[in-house]
């Protein structure tokens, strides 16, 4: 076993007695890796002849949608595939083939030469063990470090991950840390033995964008400091743009395009890559119609003889389905698995069906919220006890409850035919707001008017009219349909209940199913027989079945792959135009919200900090929080500006300051104690653009980062 030479030194940067890898030399070479799983449904081919090289000190992004096999690559390299997997090919890490290593030797590599960070920080740490102990373990097992020394290094590693109080974190249990902190601890653990290769499997997918941005920055810095090589697995092209040097695009287990990031993202060659990029709504982009990839994922039990993407490709011709495609170099280092990629044009655009005027403020808004406030009480362990006399005899201890205002004083108007986007991170209260205005959240204070009629705190019996005219589209396609009911019957039930769209006959329902873009014959299916996108369409059809005027869309696309997300967004837009619907569209993704909405409200800790036209919110003047969000949001365009000294929030959990500005405690541009003590004034700009901030309007306009802001502002406001 190799040993650590200067293990006892106090330096955090210690040198291993090991083969030194020069920058630029090939560290990992994956050759012809094929993988199949045996399942009840038959043998599924997950990877087919995957090859790529990873050079020392570089970051390779492995990109693909769900089912592309990207995570299987990581598990294969780590030797963590289940017993039902059969693996072929080679993966040489500095000359050692990892795929043919017997388990006893593979164990030696894991954690010491290769570190890995998994997607979900909340379940990856052992809940019963102190964080520091879990990070220190590999040092003890791989190098025989004594526990004290290992713990010292652990604290140093936590500090290197930007933890403010590493000693305290080391002795904490996982549940005491926030998600971002847990993920940092996991990265520290993966790096503790100073591995040459770090594999990151969707490490930021479960986190908020602002936390994600900081983790990505940290990773980049760590890589530069240590000459580390990273294999970064993700579905998010924006994240790829931020972190990767090279990109390898996987589709259905095949590498379909590989090359330097600027080339693959800036000048995508394979139709699939182009389609992916065309499906993405872009921040601050012109409002274009996004163009989804038609069709669905192929059945991986039998691979087609021709191109795997042929049946979804708009450029496909007869030769594509008959000849097997092989990777072909377009230029040095940029290869594509398409024989005609030079001759195909741009991804076909989808024409917008007609245009419509932007709705203007009127006296008859469809919905109005006045001073809406919804408070939850939660029992806090350790919060204190009061003794209450119950039933006149027994003194019983009652835990003091902590009041949490999920929605903390919101005034909003929604015009008929308008789409109002609400954007915010987890804990911002955006979902609570959506449910409260639909009278689903129990009693609240403030007032809600629907069609100028007061519906505040009515009983269920008095709400019949509201129940038919308002509907909701949900986030999770797997949970939004009753698994024991045929989808047609679910829609028919909603129709019959209010009897407005049709009588709920089979024809009525099938007409509606067709309207949301599904073929005939879906009436008798159960939800488990549908894909995620299809379930979401049925969810939309069910919402339309009561004949609504107003729909709350609560993160309707966040559970979907990029290409499916695009089709759903287009559908929602079409329905709005056609049926004159109004939406409150809730999402954590500023680009998606900005793409679809007429107006956008930015929420933080239960309050709206900024509201305005979609283009106004994405351009200065900004509320500091909006600015942080925009800075953090990953953008897939290689040309996107990357600023040094980005604005960053302090801490990574929502903290509330009831008296002053909601964002005061974390604001990077806080101007003084006034922020915490006094509620911020509303600064109004052109066209109803409003920002709640103590910073003077002039200073807000003079946002230091965007010198061209004046020009943007004038061109955007109408």
């Amino acid at each position: 076993m190799r040993t650590l030479r200067d293990f006892t030194s106090d330096s955090a940067h210690w040198v291993k007695e090991q083969t030194k890898v020069d920058k630029g030399a090939t560290l990992l070479s994956v050759e012809e890796m094929s993988l199949a799983y045996d399942s009840d449904a038959g043998r599924i081919s997950a990877l087919s002849s995957v090859s790529f090289d990873l050079k020392a000190g570089r970051t390779m992004a492995l990109v693909g949608e769900s089912g592309s096999g990207k995570s299987s690559v990581a598990k294969a390299l780590m030797g963590l595939l289940g017993s039902n997997a059969s693996l072929k090919g080679r993966a040489k890490l500095l000359g050692t083939d990892l795929l043919s290593l017997p388990e006893e030797q593979h164990v030696q590599f894991r954690g010491r030469d290769i570190g890995i960070v998994f997607q979900d920080p909340f379940t990856s740490l052992n809940p019963g063990m102190r964080v520091g102990q879990q990070i220190a373990e590999p040092l003890i097992w791989h190098y025989g470090a004594d526990p004290e020394e290992a713990m010292r290094r652990t604290v140093a590693a936590l500090a290197a991950m930007g933890m403010p109080d590493p000693e305290q974190v080391a002795t904490a249990y996982p549940h005491q840390l926030s998600g971002g902190m847990q993920q940092r601890a996991l990265i520290a653990g993966a790096l503790i033995c100073d591995p040459k290769l770090l594999i990151l499997d969707e490490p930021t997918t479960a986190l908020d964008v602002t936390v994600e941005a900081r983790i990505l920055e940290l990773l980049e810095q760590t890589r530069n400091d240590r000459n580390l090589s990273m294999l970064f697995i993700t579905h998010n092209l924006g994240v790829v743009n931020r972190i990767a040097d090279d990109v390898c695009v996987l589709y259905a287990g095949e590498v379909i395009e590989i090359g330097p990031k600027d080339k693959v993202l800036g000048n995508p060659s394979h139709p699939y890559t182009r389609g992916l990029l065309a499906s993405l709504p872009l921040l601050r982009g012109e409002r274009r119609r996004i163009a989804p990839i038609p069709g669905g994922f192929p059945d991986l039990r039998t691979r087609p003889s021709g191109c795997i993407f042929a049946d979804r490709c708009p450029f496909a011709e007869a030769d594509c389905t008959s000849t097997r495609q092989s990777l072909r170099a377009l230029r040095p280092g940029h290869e594509v698995r398409c024989w005609k990629s030079e001759s195909t044009g741009a991804w076909p655009e989808v024409k917008r069906k007609g245009t419509r005027a932007r709705p203007v403020a009127s006296d008859t808004p469809i919905l109005e919220a006045r001073g809406l406030r919804k408070v939850y009480h939660r029992r806090v362990p350790g919060g204190g006890v009061t003794w209450e006399w119950k039933a006149g005899i027994l003194p019983l201890p009652t835990l003091q409850t902590e009041a949490l205002a999920a929605v903390d004083g919101i005034d909003l108007r929604l015009e008929r035919g308008e789409i109002l986007g609400i954007v915010g991170e987890s804990g911002s209260g955006k979902s609570s707001f959506g449910r409260t205005i639909l009278q689903l959240n129990g009693a609240y204070s403030g007032q809600v008017l629907f069609n100028n009629g007061d519906v505040t705190n009515l009983t269920e019996a008095e709400l019949t009219d509201l129940r038919s005219k308002t509907q909701m589209v949900f986030q999770n396609p797997d949970s939004s349909l009753n698994p024991r009911r045929r989808v047609g019957e679910a829609i028919a039930r909603a129709m019959r209940l209010h009897d407005k769209v049709g009588g709920g006959t089979r024809e009525d329902v099938e007409r509606l199913i067709e309207r949301v873009g599904l073929p005939q014959g879906y009436y008798d299916r159960y939800p488990s027989q549908l894909s995620g996108g299809e379930k979401q369409r049925i969810g939309i059809a069910r919402a339309l079945a009561t004949g609504p005027e107003f729909i709350v869309c609560d993160e309707p696309v966040s559970g979907l792959d990029v290409s499916v997300q695009a089709t759903i967004l287009n559908l929602l837009e079409e329905l709005r135009d056609e049926l004159g619907l109004s939406y409150v569209f809730i999402s954590h993704d500023l680009a998606v919200v900005g793409h679809l909405s007429d107006r956008v409200a930015v929420m933080y800790a239960g309050r709206i900090v900024e509201i305005g036209q979609a283009s106004q919110v994405q351009a200065p003047p900004f509320h500091p929080y909006t600015e942080v969000l925009l800075e953090s949001a990953p953008d897939p365009r290689p040309s996107a500006v990357r600023r040094e000294n980005k604005l960053q929030m302090r801490g990574d959990t929502v903290s509330r300051s009831p008296a002053g500005c909601a964002f005061a405690a974390r604001c990077p541009r806080k101007i003084g104690t006034i922020c915490e003590e006094t509620a911020p004034p509303l600064r109004t700009f052109d066209g109803g653009h409003t920002i709640a901030c103590h910073i003077s309007p002039d200073d807000l306009v003079r946002s230091p980062q965007y010198p061209e802001s004046e020009k943007d502002r004038t061109s955007d406001s109408q």
């Binding site: 939004s480 009753n482 698994p483």
Partner: protein
């Protein structure tokens, strides 16, 4: 296998070779033979016939008691899980109290106050398993209530009764049925134990627990009288257990943790 056992029990009155309660002094305590496959007891009653008839009692008790616990427990559990608040608190505290008695004790307490009878045994055993049923139903209901399709039903203005019966119950049934099938075996065992200590079925009934109890003094001379019903019971319970495991595997592999 369970099918065969149930069939045998149901058909018992028609296929048994001898009257299970007829006394025959001339053939007392005979070891197993071709005439009496499992021998006879001290009153000359045919053991095989008694076991077959006992099977009906045991299985009947198991299923009936489970039905009692479902009838009481499922509605309470649904209500507690769906409404929450005071109702939930009240129902759960009630369960706590019932669960604070060891299972047999609760049966004892109920049976101790009145002379034993079969229907009381069924109700007693059923009540013993009500708290467990309530808790399971409530846990499953809580999980389903958090699903978005329940919210969807509320958004379109469905009544509570519709949501409970049409949206929640069909989805809660699978785990409840699986659990109930295992409950049947516990009920059979508990019923037998109560009969064994003399608080369940009364002579001359051919309940298995009672048969074993009655055969104890004769263990030296005629062990088959005690062993046969024991084996019969083991066989039955294993069959029901296998059925339960099968149901569990079909319905929900995640269910393991509810047990």
């Amino acid at each position: 296998m369970l099918g065969v056992l149930i069939a045998l029990s149901l058909l018992a009155p028609f296929i048994i070779p001898y009257d299970p309660v007829a006394l025959d002094i001339t053939s007392r305590l005979q070891p197993p033979s071709t005439a009496h496959w499992l021998g006879t007891d001290e009153y000359g009653r045919d053991v095989l016939s008694r076991i077959l008839m006992g099977g009906k009692l045991s299985l009947g008790l198991g299923f009936a008691a489970t039905a009692v616990s479902l009838l009481l427990g499922v509605p309470l559990g649904l209500w507690a899980g769906y409404r929450g608040g005071r109702y939930e608190e009240l129902i759960l505290r009630g369960c706590d109290v019932l669960m604070s008695f060891p299972p047999i004790m609760l049966g004892l307490l109920i049976l101790a106050v009145t002379p034993p009878a079969m229907w009381k045994l069924i109700i007693a055993v059923g009540i013993v398993y009500v708290p467990a049923t309530v808790r399971l139903t409530r846990a499953v209901t809580l999980e389903i209530v958090s699903e978005e399709f329940i919210l969807a039903a509320r958004v379109r203005g469905e009544r509570n009764s519709y949501i409970l019966l049409k949206e929640i119950l069909p989805n809660a049934m699978a785990p409840i049925v699986v659990e109930a099938s295992l409950r049947v075996t516990f009920a059979i065992l508990l019923g037998a134990a109560l009969s064994f200590i003399g608080l369940g079925a009364q002579p001359p009934s051919s309940d298995w627990g009672l048969m074993i109890s009655e055969a104890r003094p004769l263990l030296d001379s005629a062990p088959w009288i005690a062993l046969a019903p024991g084996f019969a019971m083991g066989l039955t319970v294993i069959a029901v257990n296998l059925l339960g495991d099968g149901l569990r595997a079909t319905f929900d592999p995640k269910l393991r943790r509810h047990n």
